[in-house]
Amino acid sequence: MSEGRYLRPQRLDEAVDALKGGGWNLVAGGTDHYPARVVEQRPEDILDLTGLTDLRGIGEFPDHFRIGALTRWTDLIEAPLPGWFDGLKQAAREVGGVQIQNRGTIAGNLCNASPAADGVPALLSLDASVELASAGGVRILPLADFILGNRKTARRPHELMTAILTPKPARPARARFLKLGARRYLVISIVMVAGLLEVEEGRVAGARLAVGSCSAGAQRLPALEAALTGQPADAGLAMLATPEHLAGLSPIDDIRADAGYRRDAALILVRRCLADLGGLR
């Protein structure tokens, strides 16, 4: 029985070089990695990413922000960022408790691709892309194309995520994140909703909404986004959301809630989110 290999590269080129052979399990904050191994541990080859310190931090560029793959939730919460990051920051504060936020990375949340990952809807509403590096080079994928389903991503075995890229909105924008769970805090989401509105001259110039925990992966709501565009940006936006706009969701029954409740609650959270966003100045 193999004991498993362990590698902790200090530089990205070492990491991608090692990955060429494939077969590695990557670990960043470990907050998804370890809970998945409480009941059973098997020998495995671990590539520990924590030595790649260059990948930690948030940088501003002319048309986007770059969130390094090892950036932790607490780093994000504490970073001075424009108001349209507020939704992502609200999500960050709801990822586990403070200890988890101090360890867990945003990239880990995306790569783990849980249907209940709180980072995904918020980043979908920011129209984020992810950067994947391998010995062959770098490719950039829209987040929506990266997450393929429940714990399924487009990451190839020899790739690692190096950054998350969020484009700057063309117009003034506001953002929100709402989460519903069986208790007030420290809970896995039953439903969560993230929204971003671009507002020009009192009207919605662009809208992006995403719902999580109601499908294998979080979903944008394109029909609702279209219906919102051009409408006066006030709390009345809430009532524009209809059950049909959520028809693309496919919630399941589990021990946290049943599908019917999830569908109802998703609509309500979408409406709350819109009422909030519309009501903001």
């Binding site: 029985m1 809970p35 409480v38 009941v39 059973e40 541990q41 519903l180 069986a182 208790r183 007030r184 805090y185 420290l186 809970v187 896995i188 039953i190 021990i255 946290r256 809630a257 049943d258 409740y261 109802d264 609650a265 309500i268 959270l269």
Partner: protein, 737 residues
């Protein structure tokens, strides 16, 4: 010398009231608090000897059947593996509280999914865990296992001595002006003590020392000795610090016996700590309950009949069953009464005591039913309870020892501004939120358990208390020092209390709320003995002796204790036993809960806004530690009302949510400001301290006040706990449909 009392009658003299040190009844801090918050207090696993091996328990993965075979050789070949213990003495499940003998033993007959069936021992914890997971097992499953109490094929026992009936309840229900006839269900719960169960066993020849995490050492010692087939005197258990128990550490557990067997086999100390998942699976759960409650009342709301019939469950062969109806016979009046108790034998994890077995869930259902009666009759819920307080125990026709339910109800109503409550449901709205108030009575039987303690007045004038009593986070160290300090006239820093070691005199242990009162009485008696000896030295009588600040005052003389002791020390032992007082009077503690909730009219989430508990438990020895107990109990009540629920797989009964991510305890953000008021009371029937138990009172009915507040907020009556958002939204939607 031993001072002894058997509680056959009232104790007229209030000894503590005669003392002048003025430490009793003060909200003093725990002396060991700093050790605990700085990590310096050694809990069981902190005692790990350098040469210890580690054991990890292996669990059954069928719910009923036989272990045929395991692939020992393959695991033995792994690095670091020292032994695989599959001894017939391994425990099927922990001993029930106060059993004093081993529970069912033998790892081959599987009775539930998760049952420990072997221990893999290795040099490191990781090696042992790896071995335990790699061990291939072959079971012969009995496919017919019944895993749910409502399975029509479940074997249901109806023990004759647990059924009771007086008058004619059916007829009373026919003729009554107002009635309630409903079923209430509560799910299984776990104790969720912070410190997982752990034991380190070390043998010296044929003598065993066990560092464990246990509540009742004198019983645990007997249970461990019996399980191993050795004499009690060969066993010493130490548990000076215990990270919470709530019933889960009452009886000796599988990890202790396994550690002892392995340590014996290998000749080195062996440590066995359970993972959180193992704690869920192989420690006690509180049984789920199905309760049929019938209430019959006259025009004015006076109860003429009460029926309370419960169905609970446990494993085949277990004697314990959740005493759901324990407080029902004496809480309210009514001539026509039915008590019913049935036990379904199911292959789920073992059911046992979880904080306030009986009243925690039984009173909760009864108090929801009372609220339904209040709604049906249009009588205010507080008033309904007040007019139904009996003059004496209506089932046994004996007086109450003391009874402060009425005061608790009235005081609570006043402090909570109950008169601002709108009685019609759904009347108060705050944006999306519906606001409601609810209340419930609290009651818990009071018990006294045989207990001993030794107190030494040292030559330097300090005092030492020794007993095998435990402090499971409750404040035992503090209150025993306070009692000794008060009785011997010593400031707190001159008294040391030593606990949690079976080398000391055997105590009641911590359980059933009886610890402080039972063991505190033993300490008081031991101090009386010392006072007697001091009188002999000073040639005065007991009345003439005053002890204060390390001095004796006799007549006009004030003498420092070391001077009197003159290089010697005085030792006194105290011994208390329960007696006829238990049958002569009905002893219980009482209280009231008031809760205000906001229920989201759209998503159905309940947010508790404020909560008040008013309690009477005889003399309050330390209002700070007592208040903490009540806060903890009420927080358990919040969990019971809103979030906590064990979920079993319908196929094999295994616990699906066996960690704190999915077994939803209330977190800080779920717990609002809770206020606790402790009423002044003395109960001379209880014990010479005139104190009663308070550790569990705070949970007995607490959840009902929240569920009743949800009704007041929304008009939705939740009878199937917990009141999760999806159940409430169903009600909200069907009301608007």
């Amino acid at each position: 010398m031993t001072s002894h009392i058997k509680m056959d009658e009232r104790v007229e003299r209030d000894r503590l009231a005669e003392m002048v040190q003025a430490v009793i009844g003060k909200p003093l801090d725990r002396p060991e608090g700093a050790l605990k918050v700085s990590g310096a207090a050694p809990y069981a696993m902190d005692r790990l000897p350098a040469n210890a091996c580690h054991g990890v328990l292996v669990r059954a993965t069928v719910s009923n059947g036989t272990l045929r075979d395991m692939d020992v050789d393959a695991v033995q070949a792994l690095p670091g593996i020292r032994a695989i213990i599959a001894d017939d003495r391994l425990l099927r499940n922990p001993a029930q509280g106060m059993a004093g003998e081993a529970p069912i033993q033998g790892p081959k007959d599987i009775a539930y999914f998760g049952q420990p069936i072997a221990l893999v021992v290795a040099e490191t914890f990781e090696q042992a865990r790896h071995g335990a997971q790699a061990l291939k097992l072959r079971f012969e499953a009995d496919g017919t296992a019944i895993v749910a109490p409502d399975d029509p094929k479940a074997d249901i026992e109806t023990p004759e001595d647990e059924q009771d009936s007086t008058g004619d309840l059916d007829a009373a229900m026919q003729t009554a002006r107002h009635t309630v006839d409903a079923h209430y269900t509560t799910p299984g719960h776990v104790s969720a003590a912070m410190e997982p169960h752990a034991s380190i066993a070390e043998w010296n020849g044929d003598r065993l020392t066990l560092y464990g995490s246990y509540q009742m050492l004198r019983f645990n010692r007997a249970e461990l000795a019996d399980a191993l087939g050795i004499e009690e005197k060969q066993v010493r258990i130490l548990a000076p610090y215990v990270g919470g128990g709530f019933g889960s550490k009452l009886g000796i557990g599988p990890e202790a016996v396994a550690a002892a067997l392995a340590a014996k086999a290998l000749g080195v100390p062996v440590a066995v700590a359970m993972s959180r998942q193992q704690v869920f699976e192989s420690v006690m759960r509180r049984s789920e309950t199905d309760q049929h409650i019938r209430l019959a009342a006259d025009e004015q709301g006076r109860l003429i009949g009460i029926g309370h019939e419960a169905l609970v469950s446990n494993l085949p062969g277990e004697e314990f069953s959740e005493p759901v109806t324990q407080a029902t016979p004496f809480l309210y009046q009514g001539d026509h009464r039915v008590i019913g108790h049935r036990i379904a034998r199911v292959h789920r994890t073992c059911a046992g005591s979880v904080r306030a077995p009986g009243e925690a869930v039984g009173l909760t259902a009864l108090e929801i039913a009372l609220d339904e009666l209040a709604a049906a009759s249009g009588i205010d819920p507080v008033k309904l309870r007040l007019i139904n307080i009996p003059q004496k125990d209506p089932s046994q026709d004996i007086p109450f020892s003391s009874h402060m339910l009425a005061e608790a109800l009235e005081e609570g109503a006043k402090r909570f501004d109950w008169d601002r409550r709108r009685s019609e449901p759904g009347a108060v709205r705050d944006g999306e939120w519906l606001i409601g108030m609810g209340m419930a009575s609290a009651a818990r039987v009071n018990m006294l358990i045989e207990s001993k303690a030794r107190v030494t007045l040292n030559a330097n004038g300090t005092g030492t208390v020794e007993t095998d009593m435990t402090d499971i986070g409750t404040g035992t160290y503090t209150v025993l020092s306070q009692i000794a300090g008060e009785m011997l006239g010593l400031p707190m820093d001159s008294v040391e209390t030593l606990l949690g070691d079976t080398a000391y005199p055997p105590a009641s242990g911590s359980g059933g709320s009886f610890g402080a009162a039972s063991n505190g009485t033993a300490v008081l008696l031991a101090c009386e003995e010392i006072r007697q000896q001091l009188c002999e030295r000073l040639d005065c009588d007991m009345q003439g002796l005053t002890l204060k600040d390390g001095h004796a005052i006799v007549g006009n003389r004030r003498i420092a204790l070391p001077e009197i002791l003159d290089g010697s020390r005085l030792v006194g032992e105290g011994h208390v036993e329960p007696g006829k007082a238990e049958e002569t009077v009905r002893q219980a503690t009482y209280g009231s809960y008031f809760a205000e909730v906001a229920v989201n009219a759209i998503t159905g989430e309940t947010r508790l806004r404020r909560m008040l508990g008013v309690f009477a438990a005889g003399r309050i020895l330390n209002p700070k530690t007592a208040r903490s107990q009540c806060l903890g109990g009420m927080t358990f009540g919040i969990g019971m009302a809103l979030t906590e629920e064990l979920i079993h797989d319908p196929r094999d009964g295994h616990i699906v949510n066996r960690d704190f991510a999915e077994y939803h305890l209330p977190v800080n953000a779920d717990v609002p400001q809770i206020d606790v008021v402790l009423l002044d009371e003395r109960d001379a029937w209880a014990n010479p301290l005139q104190a009663k138990g308070i550790g569990e009172l705070g949970i007995c009915g607490a959840a009902a006040s929240i569920v009743n507040a949800i009704y007041n907020a929304t008009g939705i009556r939740i009878r199937d706990l917990p009141a999760t958002l999806d159940k409430i939204i169903d009600g909200l939607q069907s009301r608007t449909d």
